[in-house]
Symmetry: C2
Subunit: 344 residues, 2 copies
Amino acid sequence: MIMRNTFAFQGRVNNAAKRLITEAVVEILDIENFASSNTFRIADLGCAVGPNTFFAVQNIIEAVQFKYQCQGLDSQLPEFQVLFNDHTSNDFNTLFSSLPLDRKYYAAGVPGSFYGRLFPNGSLHFVHSSYTNHWLSRVPKPVVDKSSPAWNKGRIHYTSAKDEVIKAYEAQYVEDMEYFLHARAQEVVRGGLVALIFSGRPNGIHHSQTTQNITFDLLGSCLMDMAKKGIVSEEKVDSFNMPMYYMSPQELEAAVDRNGYFSIERMEDLPPIQEIITSTIPKSQIIVSHLRAALDGLLKTHFGDAILDELFDSLSKKIEEGMPMLISGGSINFFALLRRKAMD
Amino acid sequence: MIMRNTFAFQGRVNNAAKRLITEAVVEILDIENFASSNTFRIADLGCAVGPNTFFAVQNIIEAVQFKYQCQGLDSQLPEFQVLFNDHTSNDFNTLFSSLPLDRKYYAAGVPGSFYGRLFPNGSLHFVHSSYTNHWLSRVPKPVVDKSSPAWNKGRIHYTSAKDEVIKAYEAQYVEDMEYFLHARAQEVVRGGLVALIFSGRPNGIHHSQTTQNITFDLLGSCLMDMAKKGIVSEEKVDSFNMPMYYMSPQELEAAVDRNGYFSIERMEDLPPIQEIITSTIPKSQIIVSHLRAALDGLLKTHFGDAILDELFDSLSKKIEEGMPMLISGGSINFFALLRRKAMD
């Protein structure tokens, strides 16, 4: 099972995202376009088990209701249906049992990867996805292929890796975003909105200089240290690669252009996370605890339970030592609002 | 958690039901009515964890596709979305992980009781529910109220109980079916179909003479025997009542009439279950094993784990002794096809 909520401190930027989504609905959503449908359908992609997903959809619904009221269309207010999506391995039982009791929408769970089709043609009015698109659909094949020039020996990510490795990751990202946008182009009604929140890389910053990737580099070096000590085999480390890619706003623009079915209505950086700046807990500790929560499952599946405590202990030290480098590293959270064009 | 698939031997009558549903689609479903919608939505209510639910919806989809082909409307063939519903406590994780990989429909899980609204207005084209409607939404309140004339002392069901108890169960059934039909009347498009399979009571047969109820009577007497021996408290037995009601075809007709939004297009008895007639395993053993599978959870919640083996051992003996009475008892499985009328 892949945990989606990484050390991007998901819930913490919700306020900025909340405001942007409300603005998107109020300023850009053309509700008269959907007047013939009496159901307004919202999908949350990569919903995990809540509660962030519930806050996000509640915010969207309130914004839509507000817009109907402002336009004097109270009597035409649609019913809402929210489709909560995540991988089949997500704990939908927990999600369902924690659904807000006072919700004013019909809820459904939709299992499957958002890199393929999940919903019928033209059935969604608003798609929301928060900190999910840095997860690739899979580890790029060439990086685990010994005979490939992109074989990623001694590393677990593309950070500071040779060009072939970076290119393999980029190619996987391009393919995944193509599938993602292609599927949404079919599912979203014309005029419908797609609000995406990304943990990404500032434009013009090299992969090796982004905070997330520097962290993965340190994690990789901890694993190699353990390999040298014989705690894990070197082969095990070579065959492990993180299925994550941190896109830049420019890369997203290029993907949307290539797809052709959406216009980008908004693209905005989200403010830095206040908690990590103002917290009295050491920054390294915060980073490691979030990282462990996000990566525990992935690491356990590949390396087993036994090494995790030692691994994160040594990572903690490396992060503390590397803090100046981490702080100087580039990292952004950004918001993009896409609108499905009025064409086939 | 309430287990829905009781000793009605669910999957076993599928062939007769399958034929009836295919006929319903071919003869009665007015697909031209839905031509404007490019999604055909099917709900399976009380789906449990499969695989019966997958067979049932597959059959419906094939019948709809067949009808489109026969009418030369291949090019207008809709996409299919199947909404699998059961209580929130149902194991949706297992359901999702066992979804057929080669399915030709979009799948979603919808948690909640079908005695309330589950889906948006006019969003369903075909509703299917199999052996679920004998489960009431709750135990009728008066039967567990010591101060009520309907207090059901010394019994666990309305079988052979005093009139007040029977009336309390009947009232709960009437209320539940009212909610059920009212919710479906809003959710199903005009012209849409509702196919229901019931484990029920033949017209004109008293409650105390139906096979299921005779069995519950025997189960109740086993519990009272244990109370007399001090293994469970008498109060514990008094406060336990089965939330099941076995309606007759006539009662269903009356409920549909009262609701007013549906016409009954078909009403048909399903053939008796061959397996129990031809099996070499003693009938009593088959009945008890199915009964235990169905009621284990319910009994465990109220009485705890410890008494179950002894309870079902003694039930097994009573069923064996009571077999002539059970065989002479009335019991039917019946099929009803409702069509949403073309009115508000």
